[in-house]
């Protein structure tokens, strides 16, 4: 009997490993194909598509030297724009969302629950549905083609507010009371007492918002018009258009668009996972 269960355990183990390895291959192969393609000709990409085939004699580093010699293309301008927008977006969103979350978590006021249900409902509306009204609103406000238009609508990020509210609810109310007794203002309590305690919760949200901002495509595509303001995803997208089939830059540029995030992920994996699965743990 015991031997039987041992052998079935071994079979289950083998089946599990098999399943996981197959899916791991499924996930890695496209990325590996992209990596290989950085050494191939862009023209070949257009003609033959991506594959794992390797022709050692044809491999070259010209794409890399073209990318890094960089005056004939705007790649690094887009890169810089994306970096800038990501950093500003993360700082602003974290700060404003923390304030809002504190307002919800630390006080009682009329219609509070109603307002918070609103947060949840907004959190759940996919942006794609709102893009058209928002696009018009930006045009009406004469803000199109500015970074303000890219940043402002997402200043308060609903799931970030939700996450911070949970975190602040875990901080004992006595801390606020102590602050009041000692004569701190309501804002002093938040900035000097609560904000420092909240620090550990910032990492996950910074990463989640940073990634969203770095990869954000649809909204910048609608909000920005001039080439010099493009972010990396829209910049890369312009390379695909029929007019400028520049696949050398597209492939190697795509590869370098992933690299910083993957490196950050390998360093701060815990926060990535915490941030991206934050919405699921409710209660």
């Amino acid at each position: 009997m015991k031997r039987h269960s041992n052998s079935s355990l071994a079979a289950r183990k083998a089946a599990s490993y098999f399943l996981f390895v197959v899916i791991a291959l499924f996930i890695m192969i496209p990325l590996y194909a992209l990596f290989l393609a950085t050494f191939k000709d862009g023209k070949d990409m257009i003609q033959y598509g991506l594959s794992l085939s390797l022709d050692w004699e044809k491999l070259h580093f010209r794409n890399y030297s073209m990318l890094f010699s960089g005056s004939a293309h705007r790649y690094w301008i887009w890169y810089r724009n994306s970096m800038l927008l990501t950093v500003v977006q993360v700082l602003l969103t974290l700060f404003v969302s923390a304030c809002v979350a504190y307002g919800f978590a630390a006080y009682e006021f009329p219609f509070k629950n109603l307002a918070f249900v609103f947060v949840l409902i907004i959190m759940s509306i996919p942006f794609e549905i709102l893009m058209l009204p928002l696009y018009q609103q930006i045009n009406d406000m004469k803000m199109s083609d500015t970074y303000t238009a890219v940043l402002l609508p997402f200043l308060t990020h609903a799931s970030t507010i939700f996450f911070f509210r949970q975190y602040i609810s875990g901080i004992p109310a006595q801390i606020r009371e102590a602050g009041r007794i000692d004569g701190a203002t309501e804002y002093g309590i938040f900035f000097r007492l609560i904000f420092p305690i909240m620090k550990p919760s910032f990492a996950a949200m910074a990463i989640m918002n940073g990634m969203n901002s770095w990869n954000n495509f649809l909204w910048p595509l609608l909000a920005l018009r001039s080439d010099a303001k493009y972010t990396l995803p829209i910049g890369l997208n312009t390379l695909i258009t029929p007019y400028g089939n520049n696949y050398d830059l597209l492939i190697v540029g795509s590869f370098f668009a992933i690299i910083p995030i993957v490196l950050l992920f390998l360093l701060f994996q815990k926060y990535f996972i915490e941030g991206m699965t934050a919405g699921a743990v409710k209660g």
Binding site: I27, I122, S124, L130, S254
Partner: protein, 336 residues
């Protein structure tokens, strides 16, 4: 628990000392201010006003960037919007939409895609998470890391990579696979069924890792003793999955279901990238949002596009309200 309280109270004491030293006279108001300014300042610093100051940025952004635009969009959906002149046409946009053949294709594609994604992603990611949780494998950490990477890539990159993998040439990866299996190369993105498959594969590739993480997080809330006692009673992995994991994972499943439905219904960029723009051969990749984009941005028929958007918004809101209701959120908020 006890220990944290003790630490907290020490912390509070330290903070009090700190404040007594630092902010002794901060609240005394300078006589220079006029009476009105004094009272306004007093109100600003009062405990009643503070929460509104804190949530004011949220309220403002919601009003300016969500409610107003949606309101305008609702109005526009009853109008024929042309440059410089708008005409009230009542329900004509909506009526036209119901008879719109292309819109029907878009709706069909979107629902087919959403259902396919649910059928693939939810069971697979749940089973994967259960295997990780059962600890019969080593090295799960490496697998988790690998599975998560696609979620980090931008849709632009992922879509481009998959478009090239599903290339028409017999030297593109998927055609090589087909040939290896003894088939003939096909034009993946030009046929309805294979185009659909490509889109599903792209979506699975991107989201399987994140969904698995949701389930792993959910499984951690299930006490291990349940599995132990089930094992003693002779339930194997399969029956543990049926009897324990699936029922107790219901909250996680509800959540994953909702976000997957949302993602499916609002699917657009994946198809946009896979077909190099919004025009796929005989609209095989056209989604509802794609149609909205085509009418609103490409054809500038804002009224008609608004009608599409409002319909979709209503569907999504209904689904999300159901989810909030099912997870008992409304009840909980009333109680607290």
């Amino acid at each position: 628990m006890c220990r944290t309280n003790w630490k907290m109270s020490l912390h509070i004491d330290l903070i009090r000392i700190h404040f007594l030293k630092k902010t002794g006279g901060l609240e005394t108001i300078h006589p220079f201010f006029s009476r009105m300014e004094v009272s306004m300042k007093k109100f600003f610093y009062s405990r009643k006003a503070a929460p509104f100051v804190f949530i004011c940025p949220f309220v403002l952004t919601v009003i300016v960037f969500w409610l107003l635009p949606i309101g305008k969009s609702v109005i526009m959906s009853f109008q024929n919007v042309l440059q410089g002149q708008t005409e009230w046409i009542g329900l004509r946009n909506y009526r036209q939409l119901l008879n719109d053949r292309v819109f029907r294709i878009a709706v069909g594609n979107t629902f087919k895609f959403t259902i396919g994604m649910l059928l693939l992603l939810i069971p697979i990611s749940m089973v994967l998470a259960c295997i990780v949780n059962s600890r019969i494998m080593k090295y799960t950490k490496i697998f988790k890391t690998i599975y998560f990477i696609p979620a980090l890539t931008s849709v632009v990159v992922a879509g481009t990579v998959f478009r090239l993998i599903f290339g028409e040439s017999d030297r593109a990866l998927m055609n090589q696979v087909l040939q290896f299996l003894g088939g003939d190369p096909i034009k993946w993105l030009k046929l309805r069924s294979t185009g659909y498959a490509a889109l599903l594969i792209l979506a699975c590739w991107r989201w399987i890792g994140v969904n698995m993480m949701y389930y792993i997080a959910g499984l951690q809330n299930i006490p291990a003793e349940l599995y132990e006692s089930a094992a003693i009673d002779g339930a194997n992995g399969f029956w543990q999955l049926i009897g324990i994991s699936i029922p107790l994972l219901k909250p996680t499943t509800t959540y994953v279901l909702t976000i997957s439905i949302n993602a499916g219904l609002s699917m657009f960029i994946e198809s946009y990238m896979l077909w190099k723009g919004n025009n796929s051969p005989s609209n095989i990749g056209l989604t509802i949002v794609g149609y909205l984009y085509r009418q609103g941005i490409e054809k500038n028929a804002m009224g008609y596009a608004s009608a599409v958007g409002i319909l979709l918004l209503l569907v999504v809101l209904a689904i999300n309200m159901t989810q909030l209701y099912l997870t008992g959120f409304f009840k909980k908020e009333e109680r607290s």
